[in-house]
Symmetry: C2
Subunit: 258 residues, 2 copies
């Protein structure tokens, strides 16, 4: 499955769904690494035995994580109190024999250029096999507040450069791009739109360009608020409640396992 960034997701899924005998079909479709790295649960997951999984982003990812224990994989404090913690606990409980190493390196307030500034130590050096990124809400929010001068173009250009740099250093990394999202409540009002949709679209465009997985958080929350007030999922419109974080964890796991 080392090739998963090199083939298009559509073809990848086609390979999977047309497989008649799972492993046999995968072996014949060029996924040779399966012989040495047993895939977790099913041939559909991008996560392999022994993988290092890194979550990167802003405060939504950070969620009050401890910096003191940041170097320790799978540490309850270092994983924060948000969606990363929920994903990690579920993966580690389900696959105890698979030696997964999970890290959270989100930092509150980060925009794309700030991820870039710390990318060597907080991403490349960790040599992740799976890298999940959720970034974008501060690129627009801080601009609306007048303390940053961002544009959709700058977001997309910076983000593209970050992804290129990542693949140059870690050609085998499996990327997961998470859709930036907001809910219309709290700090999020009409001034965010339609511009915010452009940021979302750029993230989706980059996922296609780089053939990465894409976690459709905005679509998910849009569905969630059909019957429930947006504050239930994110009190200030940006930071998920624990209910919102649990939805995100479920969606991420669904996407990453394909």
């Amino acid at each position: 499955m080392k090739e998963s960034n090199l083939i298009s997701r559509r073809n990848f899924i086609k390979t999977i769904t047309t497989a008649t005998a799972g492993v046999t079909a995968l072996l014949s479709s060029g996924c040779s690494s399966i012989e040495n790295n047993h895939l977790i649960k099913s041939e559909n997951s991008i996560i392999e035995k022994g993988n290092t999984i890194l979550f990167q982003g802003d405060s939504i990812t950070d969620s009050g994580r401890s910096r003191r224990t940041a170097a320790t994989a799978n540490d309850a404090n270092a994983l924060g109190r948000g969606y990363v913690h929920l994903i990690a606990s579920q993966l580690l409980a389900e696959y105890p024999a698979d030696g997964l190493k999970i890290f959270n390196r989100g930092i509150s307030g980060n925009k794309v250029f700030e991820l870039a500034a710390r990318w060597d130590s907080d991403c490349i050096d960790l040599k992740p096999d799976v890298l999940s990124i959720l970034i974008g809400v501060n690129d627009i929010w801080h601009t609306l507040e007048g303390r940053y001068n961002g544009t959709i173009e700058k977001y997309e250009t910076d983000y593209r450069a970050l992804l290129e740099r990542t693949l140059e250093a870690l050609p085998d990394v499996k990327l997961v791009i998470c859709e930036p999202f907001v809910l219309r409540c709290g700090a999020v009002n009409d001034t965010w739109f339609p511009e915010f949709n452009g940021y979302r679209a750029s993230a989706g465009k980059l996922a296609k360009e780089f053939n990465t997985l894409f976690v459709p958080f905005q679509t998910m929350f849009d569905k969630a608020i059909e019957n429930t007030a947006p504050e239930y999922w994110a009190a200030d419109g940006v930071h998920p409640t624990i209910a919102g974080a649990a939805l995100m964890a479920k969606e991420w796991l669904k996407t990453v396992r394909i």
Copy 2:
């Protein structure tokens, strides 16, 4: 379902499993409160719409919860980083329309008598509809360390008095007694046995006496360590890792939904 503490669990389950048409059967079996309180998900759950759910215990429950926001239901910080957080996030995400209010009031180091000392403010005053208690490991641990003079009898007597006092103040509360557990690693060595099994047995005995639900955490962990080192689930033998906490959350939810 207000009668769930008054009928035996066996009869309760029998009522459920012999029900041919769910709600209709429950109505005819004396569960009149169903007319006003829609049960969550299925007729099998003890959790009802609008319920306040309180988790009580020691450090395993506490898990670094914030005291500052303790009065706020469903607060990510106030729920800690352990099994309570995982249970709460899952319940709140699954039942957004049901107005659940979830609190964690575990305090590190507590033994049964210390729960009793703060029971009015940290339990009765909150008027929980569902009360989950996990207590016992410090009653033996602190005794082994020479800083408490506990016995199985004292644990059982104190615990029984606490449950009687609870039901006197809150006759309709639905109780969940969690089995104390340890894993043989870290701080847990042979000196804990066979005495620890007596503490477990007492908790189980009280669950039967009071017809409460019982979450078999020790049985669950005993099964988990068949193929995985105990440290993976609880590094010091007492405090669960996030993988251990996720197992606990799953077991608790399975038990409480029956």
